[in-house]
């Protein structure tokens, strides 16, 4: 099937090859021919073609969802392949949408893929989402998650939600019918820097596979009307200790999105997402002074009395380290301050700059005056100063 023939086939009977392709669905009473035709008519927008979007797109394409919209501005990086199974080694460097389109076409040429090679913003979100029946949130940052949620509330389409970090996963269906939205669960995002991203904190590669396929399952249930979707319920998964549970999510009458309706357009929402640290936590979460990698390199070469503190975890030291660095994991910092000289300037680094920023704040609170954060961490050091230091 080509994209141009989709509208005619979308409303008609299943073709002979479709009866065979979807036969395992057709013999499920909960789906059957009507459900399969509903899947073929459906238009699902996936925001993010990464860890969560990969399994979700693969399974939704295989299931015969007629139109898959994909929003992703990124290119495939080697470090994506541990979990982003939509893309392969030969795709490194390609736009994710190009590689996704090829893979999805191979899985099911009957699926029409609409690509949006942009970052979802308050300005473009409503236009992109127009005409889609539901949105699957596979983003990797709080700003876009709140944007997707508020977009879904405003457009009246379900938000099929999944989120992951390290070994923990969450899934739910927000903004569907009378159910709650994401802001009912978490009114506001945490201040920037408090919760590390997967690039900094890591993620088990299988975890987005688990959660993304739960999202695909929920999308199929919403489209076909089968079963009981996760509306008003939050599925929690801890893959490390294998704990899972479902807790209740109530609709919050004071929710600015679906309760009081204070958020009338997405620019309102953007302001609500831009959470400024409160005064009393400014010392914990505020900005810290930084030094650029090339500047640190120049000062070290000049023989300046600078100490380097590495606050990553021991398993990261085994991957890559800076020569001569004092190594104290962030969690142990307060108990090991006597290992640091207060007479020298101190440059703190981690992988990408998040944990070391916290360390700088704590050190300054403990009386260290001349302490700087290495901008971009050992990752940027590798990119800009010493490529022999492995990136991870």
């Amino acid at each position: 099937m080509t994209a141009s023939t989709l509208p005619e086939r979308a409303t008609g009977d299943l073709a002979p090859d479709e009866y065979l392709r979807y036969s395992r669905h057709l013999i499920l009473p909960e789906i059957g021919v009507d459900g399969q035709r509903a899947l073929r008519r459906a238009r699902v927008l996936l925001v993010g073609a990464g860890g969560l979007g990969s399994p979700a797109a693969l399974y939704l394409a295989a299931a015969g969802v007629g139109t898959l919209g994909l929003v992703d501005f990124d290119r495939v990086d080697l470090s994506n392949l541990q979990r982003q199974v939509l893309h392969g080694t030969r795709d490194v460097g390609r736009h994710k949408l190009d590689s996704a389109r090829d893979r999805l076409r191979d899985i099911n040429p009957g699926v029409h893929v609409e690509g949006f090679p942009v970052r979802l913003t308050a300005d473009n979100a409503q236009e992109i989402a127009d005409g889609f029946d539901l949105i699957l949130d596979g983003t990797d940052n709080f700003g876009t998650r709140y944007l997707v949620n508020d977009l879904c509330v405003l457009q009246g389409v379900p938000n099929v939600y999944g989120s992951i970090f390290r070994f923990d996963g969450q899934a739910s269906v927000f903004a569907a019918g009378d159910g709650p939205c994401y802001r009912c669960l978490y009114r506001q995002p945490p201040p920037a820097g408090l919760v590390p991203a997967c690039a900094e904190g890591g993620v088990l590669g299988v975890l987005p596979g688990l959660v993304g396929t739960i999202q695909a399952t929920e999308a199929i249930k919403l489209i076909t009307g089968a079963g009981t979707p996760l509306i008003g319920r939050l599925l929690l998964v801890d893959a490390l200790h294998w704990r899972q549970r479902v807790v209740r999510v109530r609709r919050d009458p004071l929710c600015p999105a679906c309760g009081t309706r204070e958020i009338r357009d997405l620019s309102d929402a953007e302001q609500l997402c831009a959470v400024e640290p409160a005064d009393d936590v400014d010392a914990v979460f505020g900005a810290v002074p930084e030094i650029e990698p090339v500047a640190l390199d120049a000062r070290l070469r000049a023989g300046d009395a600078l100490d380097i503190l590495d606050v990553r975890e021991p398993h990261e030291w085994a991957i890559a380290s800076l020569e001569g660095a004092v190594k104290i994991p962030l969690a142990a910092l307060e108990s090991r301050l006597d290992e640091l000289s207060r007479d020298h300037e101190l440059v703190v680094h981690c992988k990408a700059g998040g944990r070391s920023a916290q360390a700088v704040r704590r050190l300054r609170a403990a009386g260290f005056k001349r302490v700087w954060n290495l901008a971009g961490g050992i990752k940027r050091w590798s990119e800009e100063v010493d490529p022999s230091v492995p990136k991870y």
């Binding site: 969560l52 979007g53 990797d140 709080f142 992951i164 945490p190 801890d238 704990r243 919050d252 936590v281």
Partner: protein, 90 residues
Amino acid sequence: MPTISLPSVLTPLANGEHTLSVSGNTVGETIDDVSRRYPSLSPRLRDEAGEPYPFVTIYLNDEDIRFIGGFDAPVQPTDELSVVPAVAGG
């Protein structure tokens, strides 16, 4: 005793334990107990004023405590508390 369950991301702050037995007659008292025993966990559970964060939801059994009295909600010996912080990875 009631228990409090931590996500794996917070277990390093509680000596690697993911489920802790806690004492207290209210949710707030159980959080006090945990905070005394694991001081580095405390700022991940409540703000400096002792109030809940809008991005960390605490469940008492299957109910979000905000809807049943917040930190004043009574806790029974068989109750299970869960800390569910917002995560954004994808």
